[in-house]
Amino acid sequence: MKILLVGNPNVGKSLVFSQLTGLNVTASNYPGTTVEFYRGYMGKGEDRHEIIDVPGMYSMEPTCEAEQVARKMLNYGDVIINVLDATNLERNLNLTLQLAACRKPMVVALNFWDEAKQKGIGINTGKLESILGVPVIPVSAVTGEGLKTMVDRLKEARVPPFLIDKADERWEKIGTVIREVQTLRHRHPTLLEHLQNMSFHPVYGFLTGVAVLLVSIFLIIFIGEFLIGIIELLLTRWYLPLIEKLSPLLGGEGLFHDVLIGKLIDGTINLEESLGLLTTGVYVAFGVVLPYISIFYFILGFWEDFGYLPRLAVLMDRIMHRIGLHGFAVVPLILAFGCNVPGVLALRNLESRREKFIAATIMAIGIPCMAQSSIIIGLVGKHGLSYLLLVFAFLFFIWTVLGIFGNCFIQGHTPSLLMEIPPYRLPRASVQLKKLKMRVTAFLTEAIPFVFGSILLVDLLHALGVINWIARLIAPVISGLWGLPETVTSTLMIGFLRKDVAVALLEALTLTPAQLTITALILTLYFPCAATFAVIMRELGLKDTLKAIGIMLTVTLLSGTFLSLTLDRLLPPQALVVLLVAASIVLAALTAKKYDPVEFEDFPGT
């Protein structure tokens, strides 16, 4: 039997899925976390059933790609579990009544039952059951309460005995149902609800937004550095002696030794610079990237589950319209700072192709993933905060320019925001840890093979002399335009595979701070890593991907040349930071009136 989990966005379908199947999928407190379907199994033998977690949908008329996926899946299942948010019964029933048209057996699960009780919402499930003609089961996906009853009652699933076609009749029916089954008890607003009302305050709202971002960045860097310190201590105390013993056993030199351990630096093994799988590979993956990834996802996970991201999206809506996007695009962009791949996938929540293209270009060109950022912070940061700030100020400038450019020249329109704002919810430690574990495991299993693979590749390419050959070929750009030594060629080639390894390779080169900054920036801009490229191809199609690559190469050429001409020759990094940020703001302000999109709200349903 194939069982579909169907419901509005953000009603907790993914949590129900995780609880039933034991598989972990990301669940957060904002609409649109799930953009593709997930499949799992529950039960054994005869009772083994396939469960499918379907992206959330508000109605049977899809308005974005995630909803299209959901709509298609409806034909595929045998039984529907319609998950409802009990705190929001009225709006949720709209989909329930429409699902009746599928003519499939259905049960209704009222999720967030405990939260509804706390909020003083009472629902007479017996009455609702007799009105809808299908089993209605109160559940709490977070604690797992009621899920067993729900599974037991699956065999009572019925095709709902009504069909309402017209929207106004449907809402009228919902009105009568609500009056019959729901009671509201007045109670005083909780602290969280007070906070909720504050979040759009013209002064405090914006201050909170800025504070949330700054505190998060600060915590990521501070705790990241702290974790790195601990891991570095462990590596030098326990791991390095082991490698030092291994090195002579492997003969101390030769291809095999070079690949595994790498070259000796001043006669000793250097975990950062030796460039072997067991030295630099292990150091980059576990010593630098892993700590930053962990703390980044810990903090992101907190804000996701607390429910702050949709509010940030609302606050940023006006600004985002300047760059051809609407507020919700903030969410995929933030996800991209972790890893571009989920960021690009989350673009399925955006309605128009134009928005997707603009956001994907900004991501692929200008947003370094956390793995890459962590190495940039470590490496560029050594030369002072101003160079590090310059990297990010330059990226900020690129986002603005790309966005404004896209907003002015890309055909189509960006509809204004329409988004549900979920209530604030206090994240549960157990759920948080599970999610963190899932994301870190995903990094370890998906990224680490690439990290080792790219180090292996750079060793082999060096040994075969390919790198020298290519270096001569592109020398006019590298040394001529960008003023960089030819040795950075290998890092550019590795950047196709893994950006973090590419930046880490710079450690072994002798570069001036300006050269290091320029190379780190070029590595961010010039091409997405293999994984991101694959997912962009899939989501945007060949034509748009080629366009994005054209823009990418132009941006890289211009940026590298501009910086090599100015940085530390004409201007110190501090001055460039101020200049770039000011230029971004002025550009955004100047283009605002002229190109503010005629708010063309009507878009064809698909």
């Binding site: 508000y58 308005t63 709006r91 204004s416 329409l418 878009f603 349903g605």
Partner: protein, 90 residues
């Protein structure tokens, strides 16, 4: 109380409620708003707006929605008399 005021949702003062009387535009916008519970005959309450033509936060059908300025200009509401004392003077 003969002449009830009809104005676009974007101009509805914060804290007031209004009954939706008309939504301008084609099927696309109407369907999308309807799916979220915004359709003629429904009462919406404006809870907040972000300044400078930002989105409005409204509560409707038990949930809170953020609606962009472009859309709020196309949703026409009839201002309702407030029953409770929490009314805020615009």
């Amino acid at each position: 109380m003969g002449n009830k005021q009809i104005l676009p949702l974007s101009d509805l003062p914060q804290g007031l409620s209004g009954r939706v009387v008309r939504i301008d535009g084609g099927l696309g916008i109407k369907q999308r708003l309807e799916a979220m519970g915004v359709l003629p005959g429904v009462t919406v309450t404006k809870k907040n707006t972000v300044f400078g033509h930002g989105p409005s936060i409204i509560s409707v059908a038990g949930s809170e929605l953020a609606i962009g300025y472009g859309k709020t200009q196309k949703i026409w509401v009839e201002v309702e008399e407030c029953e409770d004392s929490s009314r805020r003077q615009p």
